[in-house]
Symmetry: D2
Subunit: 131 residues, 4 copies
């Protein structure tokens, strides 16, 4: 779970976090989710996480000084794609700020083709093993 404090540079003209910035918050949380994959493993395996769809509901707004928690969980694993559900909640409350489904494939940078998500790779993505 990523924890982020909202600062002045996150806000836009409406004094709330800009819609694009939330996608950086979600990406940050996904990097943290994958902290079991070492930098060397990324490079060696030639992983490229390529997003194919984001469907995000903005439910309430976050503003200066708010502390938010970004939760990330696996929603679905297909043969070559994976979907996360991510939810941003105002810390210490049940107030949902936004919810998103993020679908991506993992390209093999050497071949340009998506990896099949099964076996050891699937276990790695589910964090059942660390590399």
């Amino acid at each position: 779970m990523a924890k982020i404090t909202i600062r002045g540079y996150h806000l836009d003209a409406y004094q709330h976090v800009n819609n694009a910035r939330y996608l950086e918050f979600l990406e940050e949380a996904r990097w943290q989710y994958f902290d079991n994959i070492s930098r060397e493993a990324y490079d060696e395996m030639g992983f490229a996480f390529i997003i194919v769809n984001i469907n995000i509901d903005y439910r309430s707004s976050a503003t200066l000084g708010d502390v938010i928690n970004v939760n990330t969980e696996v929603a679905k694993i297909g043969s070559t794609s994976m979907t996360f559900n991510q939810k941003i909640v105002l810390e210490g409350t049940n107030q949902v700020i936004c919810e998103a489904a993020i679908t991506f494939v993992i390209l093999n940078q050497q071949t340009g083709k998506p990896f099949k998500i099964d076996g050891e790779l699937k276990s790695l993505l589910l964090k059942e093993i660390s590399k």
Copy 2:
């Protein structure tokens, strides 16, 4: 139609435009769509365009030096919400880079309630009149 040239600062570790940056490109195009609404009208009417959902398909990637066109059209007008379809295409080709449906309400900043979208406001949003 907004036209943007992809620069080094738009790219991320994969050498393509980052997923969050596209939302700024889409926002830029929406501001251009609404260029018929003067700054004074925004202030006077207390408009706040609040996004409630973005559903975006990333179909192919844009990289350094690419020129992209962002097309914006009204997909739907509800009683208090409006949906745009926006499509980003590589200039001079039919290659779709991404497609998004953006749904928003227009809050009245004085009351905190959404405006009903009908009459003169609806015509303004459809660009049938300029303010």
Copy 3:
């Protein structure tokens, strides 16, 4: 001292952190420096920290997976301005990534004039007291 892990979305076409992004890292560290000033105190006192100069040396580059530390210290307090020296260092090493002097005034948002930096305000900025 702020601690930041470099992610894919921080990088640009050269596979290192983009020059503009470092200014967000420095701003993040300054917000953390001022964590003794409560949100209520900001609002009540009408503080606006307005930057007048940034002089930044980029000494080496940070890339994917690097962990950086951002150190912030007061370099100078003038009658109405204040200068921080901020240094970004690769964690666990002496390698300096960048160094910057940041000079700002604190505008009174009610009057639009800079506050004189003395007495209680000066102690607050030097973190000798918390609000």
Copy 4:
């Protein structure tokens, strides 16, 4: 000269353009300055423009709807470095928003060493020739 219209997503909590965002505006104008260098020439020659110092004065603030012009001129060419002066002015006025000196070297990505800036390269950078 780059021309940019200030949008809601450029602003921060103070309702003016954030200090970091100006560095993107300046970078945009430098890419436009170098529009005489083709993408192929960049790749073939292995150019990497690496910034070593930015010294920026923020003189007044830009806000929603403002149109700004970013002027870029060569201030100095050293043996391996180059300095631009860049000035952002509110369109149709003499009001300076910010001024910056940007110093960079051009690394040869094949060797990791800076190019000597003379002869044909110098003429290219001064835009006396196009590639």
